[in-house]
């Protein structure tokens, strides 16, 4: 019961923050709403007993990605950019499309029973993740490393100020 109540509170919080992200006029406020939404999702992960992913969500999304986003906003803030609507001309169609998408998915998920087990999560889940990364999933693990390397090299190339 308590868990369900917590889930509902966090779900409302997360969705509210997400709505704030996409509708806020001030792009900096959008970013802060986004941080709130990330935090809400992290609590949902803890409710799913995925503590490692929950904490990784905070470290990567709030600590790294949100910081990058806020920096990009600070660096690309144009004085005139705040005027006018934050939305483009097709926003009404986008809203309709998103609403239809949600309706279809919600209808699907409430109809289909995917089944569920009563199995508990293993006690040493974190060690199992660590071992899994270098045994079964060693290729994605090394590819992740290469992906990060390429992203770093590419981003440095793009973002570097050219000295004329």
């Amino acid at each position: 019961m308590a868990q369900q109540a917590l889930f509902l509170i966090m779900a409302v919080f997360t969705l509210g923050m997400a709505l704030g992200t996409v509708t806020s006029r001030n792009i900096f406020h959008s970013a802060l709403f986004l941080v709130g939404s990330f935090a809400g999702v992290a609590v949902i992960y803890f409710l799913l007993e995925a503590e490692f992913v929950g904490v990784a969500q905070i470290i990567i999304y709030i600590g790294a990605i949100a910081t990058l986003i806020i920096f990009a906003i600070m660096l690309s803030r144009s004085v005139t950019g705040q005027n006018g609507s934050p939305m483009n001309r097709q926003w009404a169609f986008a809203a309709l499309g998103a609403a239809l998408l949600f309706a279809a998915l919600a209808w699907l998920f409430s109809r289909v029973d995917f089944g569920s087990t009563a199995q508990p999560v293993p006690e040493d889940a974190i060690a199992l993740i660590g071992a899994g990364l270098v045994t079964e999933y060693v290729i994605p693990f090394e590819v992740a490393s290469i992906l990060l390397l390429v992203a770093l090299v590419g981003a440095i190339l793009i973002a570097r100020e050219r000295h004329s």
């Binding site: 503590e51 990567i60 071992a131 090394e142 390397l149 440095i156």
Partner: protein, 118 residues
């Protein structure tokens, strides 16, 4: 697992409310006499010129980038460190390969002078 986080949850709630309680108490006690000069931006007594959000150099962004990449890397290394006693030599080699690949990124940034502060 969840019972471990009960105290953290309670602490989160209290720690979020408590600072506002402090500010609220101060709000009851403190004087409230705002005036335009007092509320103007502090700039050592000089009038503020221009917009605050002036252009900053992308230098800061480069450091944020390198930070992000290493942040993700460390997040991968922690569960491996916990599982370390179960790994054999070959698997340790994979871990070292992972670290070395990312160290290449640092070397590249070094070579490209992205680590210099100009």
């Amino acid at each position: 697992m969840l019972e471990h986080y009960g105290l953290i949850g309670a602490l989160a709630l209290i720690a979020l409310i408590f600072p506002f309680v402090g500010v609220g108490v101060a709000w009851l006690l403190r004087p409230k006499r705002p005036d335009p000069i007092k509320n103007s931006v502090y700039e050592c007594g000089v009038e503020t010129i221009g917009d605050t959000w002036v252009q900053f150099r992308a230098q800061y962004y480069l450091f944020a980038l390198i930070f992000v990449v290493f942040d993700v890397e460390i997040m991968f290394l922690f569960p491996i460190a916990v599982a370390f006693q179960r790994l054999d030599m070959m698997q340790v080699f994979y871990v070292i390969l992972f670290v070395v690949l990312l160290a290449d990124g640092l070397l590249y940034a070094w070579r490209k002078k992205a680590l210099e502060w100009q």
